[in-house]
Symmetry: C2
Subunit: 463 residues, 2 copies
C-alpha cells in the first residue's frame, strides 16, 4: 500500500471506533461521539461499563468489536494508548487518530510513551495522526474527530482548500471563517505532536488528492526539515502552499516546546528554506486565510497590473499605497478603455485608475466599468470596492458580479471585492463570497490577496 492509500484511509473509513467514549455530556469522549453521529458509516463506542451512549451500543473493550475497524479515534489516558493501538493494529486497523494529550509536550517519561507510538506505527505498518490534536475532518465523507460541539462551531462545505495545522485552535478558526465565507474544504488535519504522520506525508498525499487545489499550513516546528523541503518542492509545482509559522522568536520557541513539544518554526534559515521550496509565507492568521481564499476562489493572475474602482475613494487611496509596498503595479488604461469609460459612464465619474465612480454610482455604472476594464489588455487583476451603505447601489449588484465573474474567468483575470461595515454590508459580502468572489475588509488585505494570485501565476508559468 502506497502513501496515498495509507493517508486516504483516514478520510474514507467504513467502520470507526471511538476508544474513550464518555457518558457525560460536555466531556471530550461524549462530544466526539456526538460529532460521529453525523458520520454515515458504522461507529463503535468503547466504554468499560456503559451499555449504550447517545443511542449507540457500547463495547466494553476493543476485543469485543465484531468487525474490523478501519479508523480508531483515541481519547484515553496517554499511558493506555500504546497497548490499545497495538491490539487494534493486530486486529487489522490501519488508521489511528490520537486526540489525547499527555505526551511529548510534557517531557520526561511522557516523551517515551510518544516514542513507543512512533515505533508501533513503523512496526505494525499503520498510520497515526496526533497525539495532542483535534484530528481530522472531511466534509465529503463527514468523518470528524473534533471535540467541539456542533452548536459552537460552523463547518464548511466540501471544496478545494486543504488545511494542515499543528494547532487545533487555528484549525477551528480557519474552518469557521471558511464556513462563513462559503469557502469549501477538502481535507483538514490537526496533527499536534505528529508522532507518525507529519506535514511532509500529508503534502505528498494532497499533491495527488484530486479535490485539493490550495493548501494552508500552520506549523510550529519541523521534525525533519529536509523531508518537508522535498515534499513541499514537489507539491508547489502543481498546487500553491501557504505557510504560517509560529514560534519565530526565542521566547516563543519556549512556548512552543510546552505546546506541541517542538522547537519553533522561526528564524531566517526556516524562511529561506520555505521560499526555496516554493512555499508562500503568511504574515499572520488573517493573512493565511485571505490568501487561501483568493487562491481557492479566483484564477492565478497573468501579471501584476491592478485596475480598481469604487463609489467611495478612501479605500482606493490606501490600496494605491499598498500596491507600491507589495511590488504590484497600477494598470495604465489603454486609450480605448478611457474612451469607452467616458462614453458609458455618467459625468460624475472621475475616469482614471483608480476609477472613482463617486457616491452617485449605480449598479449599471459598476457593471459597465468592470466590463470595460476587463477588456483592457493592460489589466491583469480587478479590485472592486463598494460602499454598500450608499443608496444608489443595490443588492442586485451581486447578480451582475456573478455574470462578470464568469466573463473574467474566461479572460483569466481575477476579481476581488473590498467592502466593510455592519450587518447590511456583511450580508452582501457573504453573498459576494457565495458567487465565488472573495471579499476583504481593508485595502492592505485585498492588495495582498491580489499579490498572492500574481505570485502563484508567476510560479505556475515558470514550471
Amino acid at each position: 500500500m502506497g502513501l496515498y492509500e495509507e493517508i486516504d484511509g483516514f478520510f474514507n473509513p467504513k467502520t470507526v471506533a471511538l476508544i474513550g467514549a464518555s457518558t457525560k455530556p460536555g466531556k471530550i469522549g461524549y462530544v466526539i461521539l456526538e460529532n460521529l453521529l453525523e458520520f454515515p458509516g458504522k461507529v463503535y463506542p468503547i466504554h468499560p461499563k456503559a451499555e449504550e451512549i447517545l443511542g449507540l451500543k457500547c463495547y466494553h473493550s476493543v476485543d469485543e468489536i465484531p468487525e474490523k475497524i478501519d479508523l480508531a479515534i483515541i481519547a484515553i489516558r496517554s499511558t493506555d494508548v500504546p497497548k490499545t493501538i497495538r491490539k487494534l493494529a493486530d486486529m487489522g486497523t490501519k488508521n489511528f487518530v490520537i486526540i489525547s494529550g499527555g505526551f511529548k509536550e510534557l517531557g520526561g517519561e511522557f516523551e517515551d510513551i510518544e516514542a513507543q507510538i512512533t515505533k508501533i506505527a513503523k512496526e505494525k505498518r499503520v498510520r497515526i495522526i496526533g497525539p495532542n490534536c483535534i484530528g481530522i475532518f472531511d466534509p465529503r465523507t463527514n468523518i470528524r474527530s473534533f471535540f467541539q460541539p456542533r452548536s459552537r462551531m460552523l463547518l464548511p462545505k466540501p471544496g478545494s482548500v486543504s488545511i494542515l495545522t499543528q494547532s487545533g485552535t487555528y484549525g477551528i478558526i480557519l474552518l469557521e471563517w471558511s464556513a462563513m465565507d462559503h469557502l469549501g474544504v477538502s481535507k483538514f488535519v490537526s496533527y499536534g505532536n505528529k508522532a507518525d504522520v507529519d506535514e511532509a506525508d500529508l503534502l505528498l498525499y494532497l499533491k495527488d488528492e484530486p479535490n485539493t487545489k490550495v493548501i494552508g499550513i500552520y506549523l510550529e516546528g519541523l521534525k525533519d526539515g529536509k523531508k518537508f523541503f522535498e515534499a513541499a518542492k514537489e507539491i508547489t509545482k502543481v498546487k500553491p502552499v501557504i505557510v504560517l509559522r509560529g514560534g519565530n522568536t526565542e521566547k516563543a520557541k519556549k512556548a512552543v516546546k510546552s505546546h506541541t513539544g517542538f522547537l519553533g518554526g522561526g528564524g531566517r534559515i526556516y524562511r529561506d528554506v520555505f521560499r526555496q521550496a516554493g512555499v508562500i509565507l503568511a504574515r499572520n492568521l488573517e493573512d493565511l486565510y485571505d490568501m487561501i481564499k483568493a487562491l481557492a476562489k479566483q484564477p492565478p493572475a497573468k501579471g501584476n497590473r491592478i485596475a480598481m474602482m469604487s463609489n467611495g475613494a478612501g479605500l482606493m487611496v490606501q490600496a494605491v499605497d499598498a500596491i507600491e509596498y507589495e511590488g504590484m503595479e497600477l494598470a495604465e488604461f489603454a486609450d480605448e478603455t478611457i474612451e469607452r469609460l467616458k462614453k458609458k459612464l455618467p459625468s460624475y465619474a472621475i475616469i482614471s485608475n483608480p476609477l472613482d465612480l463617486t457616491g452617485s454610482a449605480t449598479d449599471d455604472d459598476y457593471y459597465n466599468a468592470i466590463e470595460i476594464v476587463l477588456d483592457d489588455p493592460n489589466t491583469d487583476i480587478i479590485l472592486v470596492f463598494f460602499v454598500h451603505q450608499d443608496s444608489p447601489v443595490t443588492p442586485s449588484i451581486i447578480d451582475k458580479l456573478a455574470e462578470l465573474n464568469q466573463k473574467a474567468r474566461k479572460k483569466g483575470k481575477p476579481i476581488l471585492v473590498g467592502a466593510s461595515g455592519g450587518p447590511y454590508t456583511i450580508e452582501l459580502n457573504r453573498r459576494t463570497e457565495e458567487i465565488g468572489i472573495p471579499t476583504y475588509p481593508i485595502s492592505e488585505r485585498i492588495v495582498r490577496a491580489a499579490w498572492v494570485l500574481y505570485k502563484w501565476g508567476q510560479r505556475k508559468n515558470t514550471e
Copy 2:
C-alpha cells in the same frame, strides 16, 4: 465667541435647514431628510417646488424660513452654494455643513468656488464643514447629516471616542464597527475638502469637549502642517490621538488629489512631525480601530509586562512572537503567583507565562488564573485568549470577566480578550465588548492593542 462654542454649534443646533431636500426616495437630499427625522429639534427642508416631504412642510427658499437657523446642511450644486451660504449667514446662521462635491477636487473654476466659501466663512464669521463629505454625527443630540439610509448603516451609542475623517467611507466603516462592538462615540466629523474647519480646529475643540476621551483621525493631507502640529501637541498632553494617513506613496498622492484636492499625507517628514506632536500612527484602518477601541475601553498600562492565558495555546505562541516584535515584555511571574496558581488550578494546567489552561479549562479555572495574575506586581497587562468552541468553558464566563474587569480597573491593569470563530464566538465577543473588554481576532492585533495602552500610559506619565 471662541473656537469651542463655534465648533460646538455644529452638534447642538435647535433649528436645522436642509438646503437641497429631494422628493425622490434614495436621492441624497431625501435620505438626509430621512435621517434628520430622528433629530428632536426643528427641521426645515428647502425645495423650490415641493409643499411637503416625509411629512415635513417644505420652504421654497431660505428667505421663507420663519426663524433663525442654527445649522444649515447643504446638498445642492456647487455653483449655487456660495450665495446660499451668504444669505443664510446674513440671516444669522453660524454653522454650515456642505455635503455636495464639485469643488477643489475637480480643479479649475471649481477650485475658485471653494475659495469663495473659505472667504465667506472668514468675512461672515461663520464656520463651515466640508464640502465633499458626509458631515457630522453626534449620538447624544442625534444630529446627523449622512446620506446613508438607516437600514444600511448601524450607528453607535453615545460614548468617548471622537472620529475625524477626510474620507466618508472610512467614517462609515469606523462607525459601524463601533456600533457592533458597543464602542460609544462622542463627536464624528467627516470634513472632506475642509474649506474652513480643519483637523486642527477640531482637535482644539475636542481637547476641551468633556465626553471625548480618545480621538481617531484618517487624513489624506494637511493644508497647514504647523497649525496641525501645534494643535496636536496640545491635545496629546491630555488625550490620545491615533492617526491613519492615506496617500503616502507618489501614485497615491495623485489619487488623493482627485479625491479631496490635497496632496497625500505621506512621507517620512509627515511621520516624524506627527510623532513629535505626540500622535500615534496607525498602520491601517483595522489598526486605527483596534487602538481607539483599546484606549476607550481600558485604562492606560503602567508598564509593558504582559501576562497571558488560554485554553488553546496556538494563539499564545504567535502572541509571544508579537510581543518581541512590538517591544513589549512577557511578564515573569513572582514565585508567590506560581505557588498560588499551582494550588488553585487543576493538574492539567501548564503553569508558566504564557499560562496554558488546556482544552479542559473551566470558567472557574479562568477566573482563578486571572485573579491571581492580576495580583502579581510583575504584571501590567493581561491578555486572555479563549477557544469558546471548547465545551468546558461556558457563556457564564462573561459575567466572571465583568467582575474581574472591575478588579483590574482598581489596579490600573488593562484586560484584553483574544477569540475568533463563527457565530457562537462572535456573539460571545460582542458580549465581552458590552462589558467593556475589547476583543481581537488574532494575536498580532491584541498585542498591538496592548502596546498602545502601554504607549499612552508612558506618555501620560511623562507629562
